[in-house]
Structure formats: structure tokens, C-alpha cells
Subunit: 205 residues, 2 copies
């Protein structure tokens, strides 16, 4: 589908905007725009405005850098959360993933990425200073590293470990091992090797 055959510039603009999104090709973009065209003007306006409003009014929590509608996010503001444990994650999606487990009652710190020299991301591009400031108050007892299990994640873990070593704080990392539901046969050798080394005493669930 080439651009030249659009009979409407308005249509072409909207399709181009949708096609600029990751994973959305021109055909899909066209299909989505046609769907919006079939809705009432009010519904379509609500769609467009939800995006504009989000971008213009969104804030980041002053404590943990999580996405928020207010100065302090709901998690940091919740008196039931344990402020002595900070889980360090890459992004907002990771906060939601961990919240979905219903296993964590501490607070978070969203770094905004991981150290990745190849992408030009150094420690100063991440929210490491504010993490150090939080640890520096002496309130924090444990920091859980919950970054991606990639080279960049490991590098960032190591950097944080060195940087925060001077504080009296326990640093832990998510267990690595065979994913629940995975077959051994298809588990890669590095994961399997780590799972062997980190084996635990057997106990009934």
C-alpha cells in the first residue's frame, strides 16, 4: 500500500501516525484508523484526548520514579508498604509485573533502563543518584536487584553493588533457574547450570 493512493490527506496523516508505532505496519495502521472512523466522533475524540492528556499530565513519582498521576505514587504513598525494602527495576512494566505476583510488599525504584554502552546509556542516564540518596537515609535494609538477566542487566547489578557497597544494606538478586512450566530438555545450558549451582533443599509446596 503506497502513500500516493490515499484519497484523503487526513486519512493518510492518521495512518502515518499509527504506522510510526512499534510493530504496527501500514496495513494494520490502516485497519485501526478505519475502526476509529466507524466510531462516533465523541468516542474518537476521547481516544485522541486520552493520549494527549496522558503525555501532558503524566508525572513520575518523586521517590521511586514510577509513573504516577500525583507527586508520590500510590505504592510509595501506601502506609502498608514496607519502606525498608527497595526492589530495583528497569521500567514501569516491571513494577506492574512484580505487583501482579502479589508476593511483594516493599517499595520500588525505577531506574529507567540499564547500563548499555552500545546504546550510549551510562550510569548518569539512569536514576542511580536518587537510589543512592534513598539508601543514604539509612532507612533501607534490603535492596533487591530485579533487572533483566542480560549482559546489560548484570553490568548494572554489578555497578549498583559497587556503588552501594559502602552503605549498611543487604543486596539480593532474583533467583535464576528453570522457569516454572519449562522442560529441562529445552532450557539453555547457562540457566540449567545456574539452577544446578543454586539448588535448594527439597520441600513440599
Amino acid at each position: 500500500m503506497t502513500n500516493s493512493n490515499f484519497s484523503s490527506r487526513l486519512l493518510e496523516n492518521a495512518v502515518n501516525e499509527f504506522a510510526s508505532l512499534p510493530g504496527i505496519g501500514r496495513k494494520t495502521a490502516f485497519r485501526l484508523v478505519m475502526n476509529l472512523l466507524r466510531r462516533s466522533p465523541e468516542e474518537t475524540r476521547r481516544f485522541g484526548e486520552s493520549i494527549i492528556k496522558l503525555r501532558e499530565e503524566i508525572r513520575y513519582c518523586e521517590h521511586c520514579n514510577n509513573i504516577s498521576d500525583t507527586e508520590i505514587c500510590d505504592i510509595c504513598a501506601n502506609p502498608k508498604r514496607d519502606r525498608t525494602t527497595i526492589c530495583v527495576v528497569e521500567n514501569v512494566q516491571d513494577v506492574m509485573a512484580i505487583e501482579n505476583t502479589n508476593q511483594y510488599k516493599g517499595v520500588y525504584h525505577v531506574l529507567g533502563g540499564v547500563i548499555s554502552p552500545i546504546d550510549g546509556i551510562g550510569p548518569s542516564d539512569l536514576k542511580i543518584d536518587t537510589l543512592e540518596a534513598r539508601v543514604g537515609t539509612g532507612e533501607v535494609k534490603e535492596i533487591i536487584f530485579a533487572l533483566s538477566t542480560t549482559m546489560e542487566g548484570d553490568t548494572t547489578n554489578y555497578y549498583l553493588y559497587k556503588k552501594l557497597g559502602k552503605y549498611d544494606v543487604l543486596m539480593t538478586i532474583l533467583a535464576r533457574g528453570v522457569a516454572v512450566g519449562d522442560e529441562l530438555e529445552y532450557t539453555d545450558e547457562i540457566t540449567l547450570g545456574r539452577a544446578l549451582n543454586n539448588r535448594n533443599p527439597y520441600r513440599q509446596l
Copy 2:
């Protein structure tokens, strides 16, 4: 990903809006919204406004019902197009598909769907009256049926054939046969049967 774990209502709203689009699940919606959040406010505003503007300002060509920014679409307004031939299609996408072949120099008529009793779509829901009015002027020499090769498409073809039979106009239909690039082995028997019945004298391309 459940709704309850969104730390921002603005974010949740935008994700819900994206997830209302066909083929976009909640995870994809979230990914798309995060992408928009990383852009500049101006870019995101342009995105949102392109949709609102489209929905509020779009028009349909008074002649052919094609999508248009003006009263008469570019195709109908083009003096080089042959007004004596009308290609009847279901929707705007089909106009673009045919335009992309660069094989057609006539004009179009967009029905806005096909007759489908199961979906409650009858002849009066389609732009059939305006098609008849165009044929009634006596200017039109040929009508090409280019609807979907489905039961509904066939029903609509037959309805139009009966309805327009009283006018002195040639009615043709797109050739049906083996698709270019398809292997015979995988062609369904109805298509193959039609392709056999409608076989043409061999000529070199």
C-alpha cells in the same frame, strides 16, 4: 495484566483506549502507550490530534462515497478518469487495492458493505440508490462488480444485477481463478473448478 495494578489512571485510560482497537491486546496496548510516552509532548499531541481531526473533518465523496477531504474525491474530480465505467466495491480499502494495480482508469462506487442478512445488513443500508441514480443518468456504459467472493458478495452482485437490469449498461465481474503465485495442489476445489470452466486461450505475457 489486570487493571488494578496501574499506578496511574491517565495511563490506564490510554491503555484501555488502545486495547479497544481490533487485534490489540492489553500487553500490546501498554507497549504502544509507553512508546507514545517516550516521545515529545508535541509529537504525542500531533498523534492524538490526527485522529480527532480525521474523525471530525472527514467527508465522503458525493458521487462515489469514497473517503475524501473534499465534496468530490480526487478520483471523481480527475478529468482523466473514464466516467463511463464504474467499479463497484465494498469499502475504501478496496478502492486503494484496485488503485494500487494501476490497471484501472474508470471511477468507483463504494457500497459501504455487502448484503448480509445474518449481520442485519440489507440493501437499504448500502449506497445502492446513489449507484442506481448514477446509472440512471445514461452516462454509464459498464459496471464492474468487484465485491468479495463470498456468499454475501455473490448475493449483492445478484441483487445489483437484477436492480440495474432495466438500464442499458454492461455488467461485468472480476475474473475468478487460481491466484498468481498459488500452487494448484493447495487451491480449493471451487476455485479450481471455476478456473477450469473459465479457461482462456493461451497467450504469451
